[in-house]
């Protein structure tokens, strides 16, 4: 396998996603949405501190524990991963293969001396690269956090790792669906539906029998992600996210074979 070729594909993919008019609009909207969430959470935090101080002066005790990680960091990560990603990632991955197939570029790419795995890794890496570039705005939020308070940096980094792992998993789902469809819109709608199901499904199963609840807990992507966003690092969660992504990559590779059968 020649990863140099995958790298070239990844760079082109990321550039195509980020430096196009549509891509710019999507990234701009994502940044605006995360900025809004972060700012609103900061106001909430400031209000929480004020309330806690008033309560402490009334009770003549020490201030209640109002920590920026609980009020801002976890909240921002939760809303970004659990809500924004559901709408943002389908837009990021829909073009990966479906658009290439529609325009005929996939025919050209697959007639190059490239292994299917090289193409797939390149496309996936390109989408993840674009996602990470979009998440780079969180560095700015980190600086703001450092100015206004003293966050728990370890917990913050664990939350960021969770966001990236969740992004990789969601990107892998979107890429698989992009491989299996001929139209980018179809790929985006299907990805959106499946991500919604993944995020809300376990909650819907919580009233079921014991074994269903157990299964829902095991499959709960959101539950595992919440642990990360609250600063809890669990290796089994890392294995879950990476293992699921690997399975989806293998399925995507099989999907490319299906493309070769269908033409």
């Amino acid at each position: 396998m020649n990863l140099g070729r995958s790298y070239k594909i990844a760079v082109r993919e990321a550039r195509g996603l980020l430096w196009s008019t549509g891509g710019g609009l999507i990234v701009g909207t994502f940044w605006a949405a995360t900025g809004l969430i972060f700012t609103l959470n900061l106001f909430q935090f400031e209000r929480g501190i004020r309330l806690a101080a008033q309560q402490a002066s009334k009770l003549q005790s020490g201030p209640a524990g109002v920590h920026i990680n609980d009020w801002v960091v976890s909240q921002t990560f939760d809303l970004t991963g659990g809500v924004l990603f559901i709408f943002f990632i389908p837009l990021l991955t829909m073009r990966a293969f479906a658009e290439e197939r529609r325009t005929g570029n996939l025919e050209l790419l697959m007639s190059q001396p490239l292994a299917g795995s090289e193409l797939l890794i390149g496309k996936l890496a390109g989408s993840v690269l674009a996602l990470v570039s979009c998440l780079s705005i969180f560095l700015v939020y980190g600086v703001v956090l450092g100015i206004v308070s003293t966050p728990d940096w370890t917990a913050t980094l664990v939350g960021a790792l969770g966001l990236v792992l969740l992004g990789i998993l969601f990107t892998s789902i979107g890429t698989l669906l992009s491989v299996l469809t001929r139209s980018p819109i179809e790929a985006a709608v299907l990805t959106l539906g499946i991500l919604l199901l993944i995020v809300t499904g376990p909650a819907m199963m919580s009233n079921g029998p014991e074994w269903v609840r157990g299964m829902a807990e095991f499959l709960s992507v959101e539950g595992r992600f919440r642990d990360f966003s609250h600063g809890v690092f669990d290796l089994s969660h890392v294995a879950f996210f990476l293992g699921s992504s690997l399975l989806l990559w293998a399925a995507s590779l099989r999907g490319l074979d299906i493309v070769r059968w269908q033409g």
Binding site: S20, E107, L108, S111, P113, W261, G263
Partner: protein, 356 residues
């Protein structure tokens, strides 16, 4: 060399004012002979492209049905057929984009499905759809494909193809802003980046204007002097002008294979005649010569102040002479007269229209 070998007296002006048959000029004999000298049919060396018993079905439709052929070293092979004959599907299987239901493809002796990347390393492919990344400049686009092909010295390779295909003026332009002619050239430049020994071109002149078509055909002939070329086309003059050998596909099957001259001569008794009469021709004459009113309704179509009839069948020499006599006697306009020896078009139509 002219395609139709008709009695000079029988050749008339076509309806568009051009002399019938003028469009079937082929590669000059001297150039063809010189070229054929380097076409080798060495059985010990693997063929650049070898397709054996390819079958591809889409649901109930058999798009490619037991297709076998080989491209010899140094030849330009034309895959000729009407739209929907299975040409593009066949090419897609040859370049490894599509799997056949059954059959085998070998590129330079390597199995294109089992040794995919390796087999495709000496292949240049230009698909019919001409996909380009609109936002990339021509240089960036060629650089991207040079890296995917693993070209050593990509800058030199790009300079070479840019010079060969006269792309200097557009090298910094975004691909999305190129005219059809330049898009075609950029597509071909991409295919030539790795200096492939085998070139596969799907409908290479589709959508070009006549001047561009002329230039592009010259270019393909030039490229064919150094490498094996397989091109698909449904344009007969192109096949005659450019190709050393033809494989004719119809409804997914190979219906004929051979040199253009051989194929054109395969229906030696066949006549392809169109004439215009001022008034309806008597039924007994129609029956004798197989004269049919042109048009689906069975009524002779009125064009240019007359009724158009055609003959598409074998005629004996006596009948042919008698028909010519009738034409002269009645003052009918002879719009077209081709015999099998000259009429690749007639052969093509006979083979691809199911015996018409």
């Amino acid at each position: 060399m002219r395609g139709p070998k008709t009695p000079e007296s029988a050749i008339s002006e076509g309806e568009d004012g051009n002399r019938v048959g003028d469009s079937t000029q082929t590669r000059p004999d001297s150039s063809r002979n010189a070229h054929e000298a380097h076409v080798t049919n060495d059985t010990s060396a693997p063929h650049p492209i070898e397709a054996s018993r390819l079958v591809k079905t889409y649901g109930p439709v058999r798009a490619v049905d037991d297709v076998s052929f080989a491209v010899h070293r140094g030849e330009i092979l034309g895959l000729l057929g009407p739209n929907g004959a299975g040409k593009s599907t066949t090419l897609r299987m040859l370049v490894g984009f599509q799997y056949p239901d059954s059959g085998e493809v070998r590129l330079q002796g390597r199995d294109v499905y089992r040794q995919g990347a390796e087999a495709r390393s000496r292949l240049g492919y230009m698909p019919e759809a001409l996909p380009l990344y609109a936002e990339m400049t021509v240089r960036a686009y060629l650089g991207y494909f040079a890296s995917l092909k693993g070209v050593a010295g990509p800058a030199q390779a790009i300079d070479r193809v840019v010079q060969d295909l006269s792309l200097e003026d557009v090298i910094q332009r975004p691909c999305g802003n190129l005219s059809r002619g330049y898009r075609q050239r950029v597509g071909l430049a991409q295919a030539l980046l790795a200096d492939p020994s085998v070139l596969v071109l799907d409908e290479p002149t589709s959508g070009l204007d006549p001047n561009q078509i002329h230039d592009f055909r010259s270019l393909i002939r030039r490229l064919g002097q150094e490498r094996s070329v397989l091109l698909s086309t449904h344009i007969l003059p192109e096949a005659l002008e450019v190709c050393d050998r033809l494989v004719i596909l119809s409804r997914g099957r190979v219906v004929a294979e051979g040199r253009p001259q051989e194929l054109a001569g395969s229906g030696s008794g066949l006549h392809w005649v169109r004439l215009r009469a001022a008034s309806p021709i008597a039924p007994e004459q129609c029956e004798r010569f197989g004269l049919e009113a042109e048009g689906a309704t069975g009524q002779a179509a009125e064009r240019g102040g007359g009724l158009v009839y055609c003959v598409r069948r074998d005629l004996s020499a006596d009948d042919a002479r008698a028909l010519l006599g009738l034409v002269a006697e009645n003052g009918w306009d002879l719009l077209e007269w081709q015999t099998g020896a000259a009429g690749l078009e007639a052969v093509f139509r006979r083979l691809t229209l199911g015996g018409e």
